[in-house]
Symmetry: C2
Subunit: 353 residues, 2 copies
Amino acid sequence: MDSAVMNTRFDGIKLVQTTDFFYPNIDDPYLMGKITCANVLSDLYAMGVTECDNMLMLLGISQNLQPEDRDIVVKMIINGFNGQFTFVDLFSSHVTAALLTRENLKQLQLAPPMINPSVSMTVLDLATEAGTMVTGGQTVKNPWLIVGGVATSVVKESELIMPINAVSGDVLILTKPLGTQVAVNANLYLLPHNKEKWERIKHVVNEDQVRESYDTATMSMARLNRVGAQLMHKYGAHAATDVTGFGLIGHANNLASNQTSAVSFEFHTLPLIKHMHAVNAIASFRLMEGRSAETSGGLLIAIPADKAQQFVKEIEELDGWPAFVIGNVVEGDRTARILENATIIEVEQHHLN
Amino acid sequence: MDSAVMNTRFDGIKLVQTTDFFYPNIDDPYLMGKITCANVLSDLYAMGVTECDNMLMLLGISQNLQPEDRDIVVKMIINGFNGQFTFVDLFSSHVTAALLTRENLKQLQLAPPMINPSVSMTVLDLATEAGTMVTGGQTVKNPWLIVGGVATSVVKESELIMPINAVSGDVLILTKPLGTQVAVNANLYLLPHNKEKWERIKHVVNEDQVRESYDTATMSMARLNRVGAQLMHKYGAHAATDVTGFGLIGHANNLASNQTSAVSFEFHTLPLIKHMHAVNAIASFRLMEGRSAETSGGLLIAIPADKAQQFVKEIEELDGWPAFVIGNVVEGDRTARILENATIIEVEQHHLN
C-alpha cells in the first residue's frame, strides 16, 4: 500500500501516513518544492484520501552550496512546498522544515532540530569502528540536497479506498503521461558537459522540443493527484496506486499482487510525453517496458468499465490535463504486463491548457 | 512547543506530531536506535501525550560503510528503534525505514523510497548552477549516518498538557541528570587519536570512571520519558518541555517565554552525571551554564509545589531513576537563569537500579 493505515483509539477513525524523500531532479528550486509536495501527497491520494491534516517537510541542504546561494535555494524550495500546500487547502498551515545545517537554520530563523556540532566526530568514529575509510575528517560535508516530507491524515474508514478490490472486467486508467525521467534527462543533455549524449539524441529531437517536453514533464510532476482521488470516490474505483520510482510496470505489478481476486493487468496503451518515445529509443531508459522511473507520476486506477469514460472526461475538465484508458483487468496470476504492439499516445503541451 | 498540535475534521480530536533527526552520538548501533526512538517520542511526552499511534523511522546510511558492515549496522539501529517501539506498547507496529541507498534497501528487503540513480547528476548540476564547487562528481557519497523519526498521535484535547500555565509558586522538576554530551565526549577521549584531550582530563577522572559515566549517560538517553508524562497528568503539571540540543537553559528560556503568566524560572540545583562536573571544568562544554547539549534529556516540569515531592518519589519508584526538584517559578520577565552557587548533585550509577 502507498500509505500506512493505523487504528487510533477512536472508533472508526484511522490514521493514514506516508513519507518519501529523494534527490532533486530539476534545477528550479521553487518548482522542486512543489514537485516534492505533490509527490509526498500522492501516496495519500492513491488511497482515496483527499484531505491532509499535516505535512512535515524534510530538507537536507548541500554544504557545497555557498551560504548566500544556499539561503536563496532553500527559501525557494520551502516556498514551492508551501505554495503547493496552501493550494491543496490543508486544515493546518503547519510545515516543519527540518534542515541539516546549523547555518541554514540561523539564516531562515526556523526551529532547528537537535544538531550538535560535537557529534560529527562521533559519527566518524562509528564509521571507523565498523572498519571503513573515512574521508575528510571533521570538515566533511553533506554533498547532496535531499527533499521530502511526511503527510498525515485522520480519516473515517469510509474515506479510504483500499487498493485490493480490482475485478476482471475493470479497466485501468492512468492520470498522467509517462516519461518524466526521460524528459528531465534529455534536458540535461543540453548542458555543455553532456555534449556527447546530446550528439546521440539530436537526430530525433531539436533543442526546442527538448525544452518543451521538459516543461510538460515539470508541470506534470508539480500537479497534484487530488482531483483523481476525489473522482475515485465518485466513480467507485476498485483499487489504485501512484506511479513513481519503479515505473508503470513496477507499481502495476505491486498493485496486482495485492488484489483479493486472482487478476492481472494488461496494458494496451502507453501515453508518453511527446518526443520521449524517440529519445528513449536511443538513450534507453526502458520507457517502453514500463520501467523508466517516474517522479510524481499519475494515479493508476482500476475502475468499472462503464465508469471509465466519465472519469477520464471529468478529470480533464477539472484539471485541464488528459487522462488515459491504458489497459484491462483480466483473470490472471496477479501480475502486470504491457501487450505487444501497445498503442503509443504522444502527449503534447497544447493538450494541457 | 515541542510538538505540533493540529485540528482534525473530528470534534475534540487533535493530531499531535513531532519530528527530529540528528547524527549518532554513540558507537553502539542498537542502543543508538533506542536513543533515537526515545528522543523522538520525548516531544510527545513533554506535551502530556502518553500514547503514540505511529512512528516513522528516518535513517540515512553512510556510504563510507562497507556493504557488509552497513547491513549489520543498519539492522542493529532498526532493531534498537523497534525494540524501544514495542516496549512503549504502540497501537501499531508499523515502522517505515526510509533509507538513502539502494543497496541497503535490497539487503534489508524494505520498501524503498523513490530513489533514482540518474538524478544524482541533476543534483550536482543544481549545485553548479548555484555557483559552487562540486567535489567528486558522480561518485560522491553521503558521509554521514543520520537517524531520526516522526511520532504521531491522535488524541482527545484533554490528553494534552499545553506548556503555558506555569505560575509563580510552582516548582521545577527535572527527570534526568544533565551531562550526556560531556559523558559521550569524555568516552571518545579514550580513543588513541584523542590522546591529547585525554591527557588534559585524566587528572580528574580515570578510565573506569569515564566508562561508568558513559554507561549512565547511555542508559539515561535510551530511557523513555513516558512515565514522566503519565505523572504530569496525575499531579496536575502546569507546563513542561524536554531538554535536548539547546541544553537546560536554552529549553527553559523557551518554555518560560511561552508562559501566559509573567513568570521566570530560577534553578537552585543542577543534577549531573557523576564526574561530569570535573570533566567539564577542564573540557568546557558550558555544562554549569546549562548550555551543554543533551541528547534525549529529561522532562523539565513546572508543577504545584505541594505535588513535587510526590511526583519525584513516584517516578523513582516506577522508573528506577531519580528525579530532582531543581528550581522555582517566580514572578518575572519570562526568562530562565541558574542561581549563583547552585547545588550540584552528582548522580551515580548505583542510584539507578
